[in-house]
Subunit: 446 residues, 2 copies
Amino acid sequence: MNSANSALFTDLYQLTMLQGYHDAGMEDIAVFEFFVRKLRPGRGFLMAAGLEQALEFLENLRFSPEELAWLASTGRFSKNLLSHLETLRFTGDVHAMPEGTIFFPNEPILRVTAPIAQAQLVETRLINLLHFQTLIASKAARMKLMAPGKLLVDFGLHRAHGAEAGLLAARASYLAGFTGSATVQAGMQFNIPLFGTMAHSFVQAHDGETLAFDHFAHAQPDNVVLLIDTYDTEAAARKVVALAPELERQDIRIKGVRIDSGNLADHARQVRRILDAGGLQHATIFASGDLDEYLLRDMLAAGAPVDGFGVGTRMDTSSDMPYLDCAYKLQEYAGKARRKRSEGKQTWPGRKQVYRSYDADGRMVSDVVTLEEDVQPGEPLLKQVMRDGRRIAATTLADSRRHAAANLARLPEPLRRLQEPHVYPVEIAAALLRLAEQVDRDSSKP
Amino acid sequence: MNSANSALFTDLYQLTMLQGYHDAGMEDIAVFEFFVRKLRPGRGFLMAAGLEQALEFLENLRFSPEELAWLASTGRFSKNLLSHLETLRFTGDVHAMPEGTIFFPNEPILRVTAPIAQAQLVETRLINLLHFQTLIASKAARMKLMAPGKLLVDFGLHRAHGAEAGLLAARASYLAGFTGSATVQAGMQFNIPLFGTMAHSFVQAHDGETLAFDHFAHAQPDNVVLLIDTYDTEAAARKVVALAPELERQDIRIKGVRIDSGNLADHARQVRRILDAGGLQHATIFASGDLDEYLLRDMLAAGAPVDGFGVGTRMDTSSDMPYLDCAYKLQEYAGKARRKRSEGKQTWPGRKQVYRSYDADGRMVSDVVTLEEDVQPGEPLLKQVMRDGRRIAATTLADSRRHAAANLARLPEPLRRLQEPHVYPVEIAAALLRLAEQVDRDSSKP
């Protein structure tokens, strides 16, 4: 399959619109903003993610000769437009909230300012990149809040929606506070700590569980975490205890066990007793299998002796809410503010900024969304990150992860709840309300 | 980002297990099968998809020098294993149901027969590829059943989970009967028909809707579908009618309009009246915006005059069910059948085949899952598609799409329902039950 960097990861209408702008000689500066329209029930906040990949995409945007030849072969576009596409690069400015920033509906997390053809063309892939990582970081942050201090590992690649989704879910969950991932590519590409031991097939392929455990311990002596639920969880825990002394004699220490089926909390309690009685008090218990933030909360509230969790499918697909109601909308063109008024999908016009206020303890109190030039008290959340198509400063994933942790620490208690969280106050400033009214008045003229 | 063909799109445990198999000298033939454990409420059937990409992955499997160097740098693997990985290729056999085949829980749709290291290593990406396209084809097939004869276009790239998800959702939905996609890359790569016109930003960027429509009509004279809901849907429809005669004089014909917000059925009725009264009886109405199979059914049942639908997010994320409970499990190793007995996740051992029976009208009646050597009446659904690591025959996407349509035509009425579909009878043959009992007896010995 083709590289994900192809400029043809776009909707056809971006190109047909480019033909339209081109033929009409429309080349002025456009301002688009990316935002989420509303939260779903049960969600109190979102966490911005995906900016790094979005900027990488903008910096590398170009049509290859093969792509241009293919576009020409469709007969849909003029020669003029195609030669324009040949030299097209992204030369605009980008303002954005840093990755890891907590945000709310109607707050832009990214603004693109560029000649309209450029700003329009990049819409599809920008949404695609920002939407997915924001979706996953927001989901992972909920898990991090429910399981503070626990080892949290992304196990989701196999049921993520494609390879890129698996890779970027590893990144977004690590950003939001996960300890690491099982996805090897995420280790190589993003330097994310990797975790992994064995699957049931390893146990099944052996004639006997003890033999499988022994083979694995010798093959990975620094990483002996044994999967104990292939046949009978407690029986396997006793086999682990029985095997331990022989391994100790060979200087191999059993680090822990993994349980992947049944009632995880009950099994964890029984296995903990078996390990402790067998002298393996140091061995940890790692749980996996259809986990999500609700199950983490309930298991830990019930005092299940679990040290770490492998969270897969339900995080990598954000299964209870697999998409955000997000948009990338034109807010200004040729110096004039613009507004879409479609039913239920109205936008706030103009170039915007978001200001955040904190209480004396540093907790978030409220936000104001206003126009860029209308300076308000509080911390401005959008910062310039790209000028004339080039990034202004490099941000490492480690920086972003620290920023995310700091943001989560400032989140007020009533917003952390998994169910019926408070609604965080986001005010639309008077200046923005006035502009919206004015745009409506102007555009209601014929 | 790295190519999706990297061998490192795998879980770390595949590699730690390979170290274990390698050190233990385990090199025998393993048989793994991919299947879905159960359907979710409301789903009557699944449609197999993703085989083409799975076979492509197997044929091209190899570790690059950079990947090997990186693996070495982790210190987790022996020199011996790394030099084994350097020359590792997939040399096994694959049996599978053709793409587009309808299938049910516990029926393997793919079987891999290969030396255990190979068969194990490919698990993560095989699941990743088969799971996602099967998920989307199954969702898209439901839409196709609800809107027979309508133009159905995939609009989902922007909110799909990454670029690969968008591309493969375009493929899977086309396979299942969609007319085409908006994703340009899907046109170039899979020759899928492309559809697309304009976004709201195009209208907003102009000082007046009529001017935007006129510009677009001249830029895409063969493809004049106008988006009419940016400000006021019915007012825009009247502008379309007013513009039509001038365009006709220039030999440009308005092909249709698109509505993307509000009550789509109500707007479609009013717009139809306006277009008809204005002499645009030939112009079609295309609807989009948060659509899924339930809304398609309800709109068409209510007689909404809609000719085509753009379906995006809810299909590309399979939003009501964003994952399948699928698995790729070891069923045989070194000539011995194997069985996992984890609670709620037991598997059927051995190499299996699925036979399907039809009634006199060609409708599906029931399936039997049995062992490969236990020949049963009916049509065997699994066919050999790869021998010694090479594909046996090429199947085009057009072939698969025809196969999917033929399968949907054979689906009994009670299975087509969106709610409370019948449960299709899938029998586990006596030979398979006997083998499972025998495996349990054998492995309960120490």
